[in-house]
Each structure stands twice: as C-alpha cells, then as structure tokens.
Amino acid sequence: MYKSKKSKALTLTAGLLLLVSLVLSGCGKSNSTADGSSATSVASSTQQAATTQGTLEPYEIKWYIDAGPQQADINTVQEALNKQLEKSINATVNIVSVDFGNYDQKMQMVIASGEKFDLCFTANWANNYYQNVNKGAFLPLDDLLNQYAPTINETLPKIGWDAAKVKGKIYAIPNYQIWAMTNDIVVRKDLADKYKFDPKTVTKLEDLTPFFENVKKGEQGITPNGVTKGCLPWGRTLVMNGFDEIAGRDVPGVIRLGDADTKVVNQFESEEFKNNLKIVRDWYEKGYIRKDAATLSDMEADKKAGKVAFQFGGNYSPGADVGGKAQFGGNDVYDVPVSKSYLLTSSIIATMTAVSKTSEDPARAVMFYDLLFKDKTLYNTLTFGIENKHYKTNSDGTIEMIKNSGYDYSGCGWEFGNQFNAKFLKGQASNIWDETVKLNNSAEGSPILGFSFDPEPVKTELANCNSVVSEYSIMLETGSVDPDKKLPEFLNKLKIAGVDKLLAEEQKQIDQWKKDNGK
C-alpha cells in the first residue's frame, strides 16, 4: 500500500518535471534572444541619457546582412558605431550577419514570421527583391528618400533608381559600387606567360583552347579550366554572347543587347548557346574540365592550392586582380574583360538594401542608411572595424587587415551603402574607385535597363520551366553530356513546360513598359 502510494507520487513528480522542462525548453530560445537585445538596448539607453539629441526617441535599428557568419568581435564595432549614431540620430544598430548559404532561407523565415526588423540586404540572387516586393514585405521608399536621404539622392545616378523601381515605385536602395556588367576571364599569370598566352586577345571561346591544351600537356595535376556547377561558362559569358536576361539568370527569355526592337528570344534555342555547348563539350572530352564538374559546387580549395589555371570570372571590376590573387592562393593573375561593358537591371540590383514593412521607425532606418553614404568614418568602421585592433594603416595610407582579430568585412564592402567610401586595401591602386565610377558612367545601357518582370501571370509556367532548366542546364553547360542528344530533349521539355507562354508574357510586359516609358 505504502509502496504504491510512493510510486504514484513519483509518477506525478516525474510528469510535472517533464512538463515544466518542456515548457521551459520551449521558451528557452526566445528568451535568450530577447535577453541579448534588451541588454544592448539598456546599455545604450543609459548612454543616451547623457547625450540626448533633438526630439528623436532612442531607437534600435535591426539590420540583416548576407555577409558570412556573425563576426566574433561584432560587439566592439557595434559600440563604436552606436557612439557615433547616438550623437547624430539617437539610434543604435543591431547587425545580424547570416552566412551566404543560409541567408535566403533565413530571410524567408524572418519575413514569413512577421519578425520586427528594419533593414535587410536584398538582390536578384539572394533574398529575392522582386518576390519580396510582390509579397508585400518591403516598404515603398519614394517619400522617405526625399525626406530623409539627401546624400543618397545626391550621390546615386538616376539610372540606379530606374533599375530599382518596381511598378513605378522604389522598394530598395541600390548599394553604390560596380554597376557595369563586363564579362571577364581570370588566368594565372605564371602559366599564361609560360605558354605565351595573351588573355587580352580573347574574343571568343575558341581562343582559349590552345592554352588549355598546353596546360593539360605541360602541367601535372592542374585543372586547365575550373568549371563547376557554380561557375558555368554559359552564364558567365552571357554578355559576351550579347544577351541580357529578363526574368532572372537561366530563366528562358533574353533580349539581344543593342536590339532596339527588344525582341524576346529563348537563349537556349540560340545559335550562340549551341556553339557554346559544342566547345565546352570538346573541352570536357579532352579533359580540360574536371569529370565531376556537374556535381562540384566550387573549386575554391583547389584554387587556393594552385591547382586551377583558369576560370570565367563573370563580372569585371577595376582592381579585381588583387582579389583574384588571394583566391588563386597568392599566384598573380590576369583579370581581363572579354566583353563590352553594359549597365543591366540585373547588375545594378545585385546589391541593395530594403526597409522592412515591419519596421517601427522606417524614417530612422533611412536616416541611418543616408549616414552610411555620407559619413566615411561610419562606413569604414563598419567594413574594416577599429583601427589598430582590426586593421593597421600603412605608411602609404593603405590599410591591412589584422589576421584573426575577430572582425573583417573587407571582402563585403559592397554589402553596405556606398563602397566608394572605402579605404584602400594594401595592393589596391588608389584610383580604383575613380576607375569604377568611370566604368559605370561609360557603360552602355541595356535596351531594357529599368524593366522588371512581374512573374505573377505565368508563375505556373515559370515554376515548370525552372525545374526543367535545373535538370538540364548544369549537365549541358559543364559538357558532361552530348549536346547533340540532350539539347533537343531539353528544348522539347521546355515546350511542354510552357516556355512559349512565358516568352509571350515577357514580350508583352516589355512592350507595355516601353510604351509607358516612352522608349
């Protein structure tokens, strides 16, 4: 009798314990994040008491960026930023950095759950701009910009705003950096010189073949051409082939650059595509491309180890050979443009910052962003950290990052505001920003610069075409399969997926857009 009573009591307590622990663990997560943010806001509000400014209430700006895992020493830098910000706009900033691979998903969760945040990085390749605008996740900024962002308005050329507009309204601020799109190639200097290969003479893919042949013959263990599924020759020579994308990379439908009639064509049916596949297939069969290219996501490790001779760069920017040298394991490289420079909607909206619908003080978020354009110190602290702690200044005025200091966004300067505010890294020529602005200004505009595609009327066809393209594009474009057999199959499946309706819709929207804008 006694025993059973005791065991009953035991089950009861055990049950209760389980329940309590479950409830507690359920709350655990949200508690810890709330603690983190409240701690910083408490700390900052005490500081604010000392430096109260104007009529602005203290406000914390939450900013999501796509710049790799959170930096270890972010708190120190945030404190330095906040000290400045409190004086000027009585705000503090809370930066949440998410790694490149997860940013897309993370932002979808953040936005779908209605979380309160102020700013986020958005682009056509991450945290998709158009989809978020269609879903109503971003605030229209036209009025806010006029009121609170004098510097941004002054700095950014009109063409940038045109590119960012969706249905006549601006939903994100383009970051000011390289906007021109110029396809380029990156070649290891030592190998190019050894085999007397002058990258400047390249005008078509065939010109590369002799160099690959020499490397294959002469260099053991070096891949002549670093093609992977993340570095496909077709996508990275789209401008060289004379095309501009309409609804996204690898979505059927392009126009020819320089075609005043802006006729929509299916790039996968073009002669250029066919020719490209033939050459790449030839490279693959001769072993200039790795046999597993179609399943390889990148070759960064191989590049660092000096085992790659050549890659298609994608987009040229002045001074790119400095970054290229680091990627190719310290070997000097030639980074050479192989196409004309164009301004494309896609190349301008590749880096932007949007204000969330859930922001409680969008005006302050815009003011903060304006400061990033205006205030070089603010920009440089954000990008490089604190002097002598995270970076050193050399005698010639260039700076050098201190290794393992816990803060380094020097590779992600394009993520924030105006990159032309940045200090020069060691090895970067002091005229690269001027050169970049010059390139931006001299580049020719695409006939559909400023056009944005609304996928809503054809989203069924778009989803179907996407799935077909992702099945075939990688194996064809890495040369892993015979294009004579697979290309007709691919085109046929696109037809079934409704590519014609998609192309017709693209043409319709472009014609409408041209009419509306008097082009």
Partner: protein, 306 residues
Amino acid sequence: MFKKNELIKDTIKNKGLLLLAIPGLLFLLAFNYLPMVGIIIPFKSIDFAKGIIRSDWVGFNNFKFLFSSGDIIRATTNTIISNLLFIIATLIISMAFAIMLFDMSRKAVKVYQTALFVPYFLSWVVISYIVYIFLNPDMGILNQFLKAFGSEAINWYSEPKHWRFILVIASLWKNAGYYTILYYTALMGIDSSYFEASDIDGATKFQQIKSISIPLLAPLIMLLVLLQIGRIFFSDFGLFYFIPKDSGALYPVTDVIDTFVFRSLKNNPDLGMTAAAGLYQTAVGFILVIVVNKITKKLNPDLAMF
C-alpha cells in the same frame, strides 16, 4: 449520464498516467494539430502585408503547376517505386539481421547492434561524401577497381541505370540498423517456452523461424509497413538530393516529388504552391493508409491498425 460518470471515474483512476501523457499530447497538439489550420494556404495567394487569413482565395490555381508538367508523373512513379523497394529491402534485411542477432551471445549482440545503429545517426550529407569516395569518376574506389580489372570506368553521376540499386543500398546502410533493433526487441519479447518446446520436438532453426518468429512478429511488421506506406508519397529528401549530388542526368530515376517541388520553387518560392504540393502528398498518403488497412483487415482482422 452513466457514460459521463464512467469518464470521470476513469480520469480520476488514471490521473497519474494522464498527467504523464500531457507533454506528449501538448507536443502533438502544437506540432500536428495546430498546423492543420494551414490547410487553407494552398488555396490562397499569400500576401504578407495582408496576412494568411486575409489573403485572397485563388481556388485550385496553386495546384496547376503540379499537374501541368509531365514531370510530376515521373516524380510520382519514382517516389513510389523507390519507397516500395526501400520498404521491401529494409523488411527482409532487418528481419534477417534481427533473427541472426537473436541467436548470438550477449556480448556479440552489443558489438553488432552498435555497428548497425551508428549509420542511422549520420546525416545524408555525410553519407553522400562516403558514397562519393566510392563513385568519384576520376579517383573513386569503384572506378579504380573497374580499371584494375580492365573494364571501362563508369561516370556514375551521369548514368541513371545504376541508381535504383545505389539508392537502395544507401538507404539500407543508414536505416536497416534501426529496424533491426525494433525487430530484435520484439523477438526478445517472445515467450521463450515456445522455442524450448519446439527444441524438444526437434524443430530445426529454419522451422522455428518460419513457425514461431515470423508469425509472432507479424503484427509489428504490419504496423511498421503500414506506417511506411502512409509516408510512401514522402521521400527522404536528403537521400534523393544529396546522394546523387543533385545531378540532372540522374533525374529520370532519382527525381522524387520532394526534390521536384524543391527544384521548381527554389528560384520562385511561393508559399501557396509549396503548400499545395504538401497537401497533395498528404492527401494521397492518407488514402493509401486507409486502403492498405482495409485490405489487411480483410486478410487478417487481428493485424489491422484500426
């Protein structure tokens, strides 16, 4: 009136047990029942500004993409064929292992049990690299073997014909251990007097397995198979996405509903369309469970789940 009293009495009598069940029930409620409200999502065009409830109704528009392309048929057949193969292979292999384990000494059982169970805890990403070591076209172990014996190397990641088999092996390697342990535990639960009696009657091992082990395990087998069939329209995304390294050339056999939906919506994520695919899978899975259970009931009422 009488029934009500009974219920109260029952509750009071079992209050300890009921209390113990609360966490589990809450879990079920929070993760299985509350999300069912989301069943309206496939029929709406979701606009975050308006919220789920106030978004516009669009009828069956979101389901169109599933059925307008020919690929859904291929994906559905692949899902069913692969899952059937997995269910059969897992059943046979893990039963065999369980019966073998049952005849081993305690110490040996522990070693084998652990060895079988470890892969279950590995993620598909890790396993995909192990598979890659074997199948790498240039330096893979299998191709080295083929070359050593004078055959031609196979470019595994672009030859779909081998992949049904490779997927079954990968699935077995990861999951068979888990089921082995379930069956082994059930075998341990069988009254040992059956085996002793049959020993005295001079039954062979094979006869014992046929007439004692398998019939007594039948309810568990049925239960596990039913559960698996209920999920036959859902595929293990990790297995089908990572093991073939998402190679387009292999889609004719490796593309299943989950990977198909993932691929279609990757560049254009639309909540409504994703949810439509989920509803399609669940609805068909639900029908399958009911049907299989009905059939089981006809054949042997004791084995049916409900």
